[in-house]
């Protein structure tokens, strides 16, 4: 997957400036949606009794996550360095089941931590099926952005935000192994 161009970064920053006022609502809706639409993700939040969209810990964590996204926008020029401590937190706290690991059929590099569709190492295109929460969450963030900002969330903005969230997820995965 290509890295973010200067134009991508400018588009992300400009769009974020328009939507950041609603960041908390976006986060709450996206996380709540993810738990309903992708029930397998509930396994990572089994420590909360209530996983419905009106649950207080779900709402709070949605806000926390969007705070992380907001922070990532400010660190967009070096996401890996900027998200280092968050990556360590996710790596050692999430402990994703390694049975979910898949490998790229041509270069054998693990796909588990990679973004959809293109192996970072050999550019082989493939489908990525395992449950990787940041990636699934990214999809739900995009859905919520489309709902809340139907005019502003143009295809051009969509592609930049998709690339940004993918880069963010990659930076978060940096410390997994």
């Amino acid at each position: 997957m290509t890295s973010l161009t200067a134009k991508d970064k400018a588009t992300v920053k400009a769009f974020w400036a328009q939507v950041s006022g609603k960041a908390e609502d976006i986060g709450k809706d996206a996380l709540g949606r993810m738990l309903i639409v992708y029930p397998q993700t509930k396994t990572y939040f089994a420590h909360w009794k209530d996983l419905g969209p009106n649950s207080a810990p779900v709402k709070k964590h949605g806000m926390t996550v969007m705070g992380g996204v907001a922070d990532a926008v400010t660190k967009i020029d070096d996401l890996t360095a900027g998200l280092l401590s968050l990556s360590e937190l996710h790596a050692f706290t999430l402990r994703i089941d390694p049975q979910n690991f898949k490998v790229c059929s041509c270069c054998q590099v693990s796909l588990r931590l990679q973004r959809l569709f293109v192996c970072l190492f050999c550019s082989h295109a493939f489908t990525f099926n395992s449950c990787f929460v940041p990636q699934i969450l990214a999809h739900n963030i995009l859905v919520v952005l489309a709902i809340m900002f139907p005019t502003e969330f143009t295809p051009e903005v969509h592609v930049c935000m998709d690339k940004f969230l993918a880069a963010l997820a990659r930076a978060l995965a940096e410390k997994y192994r």
Partner: protein, 147 residues
Amino acid sequence: MVEWTEQERSIINGIFANLDYDDVGAKALCRCLIVYPWTQRYFGAFGNLYNAEAIKTNPNIAAHGVKILHGLDRAVKNMDNIKATYAELSVLHSEKLHVDPDNFKLLSDCLTIVIAARLGSSFTPETQAAWQKFLAVVVSALGRQYH
């Protein structure tokens, strides 16, 4: 065999009953070609796809998007047998059109985004779940006859 609840059937039928095919179909395909530019490889004969503006104003793309969306009508009418309903279409995409079936998921994600933008807050999590389940079954059926 896919099980559908009454609520899921109602949600899917409801969305299609009120669907503006001309708008949603065109927008979904355009978005797919812009967000996942490698999908443009299947549209070499469709004219100017040089940039986002060209794609958005290309009448061939718009017409094809509408055609694709109408292609979903048969799945809506045959929700209990989508796999058989799309067997022939799957063969077509494999043998004649040579479309990598991974691309079906890309288009279905873009369709979800466009529908979400249209329906706004009535695209509730439950609606999204039913919609995505429907599209996942369609995508699976379309990829079924590849070998």
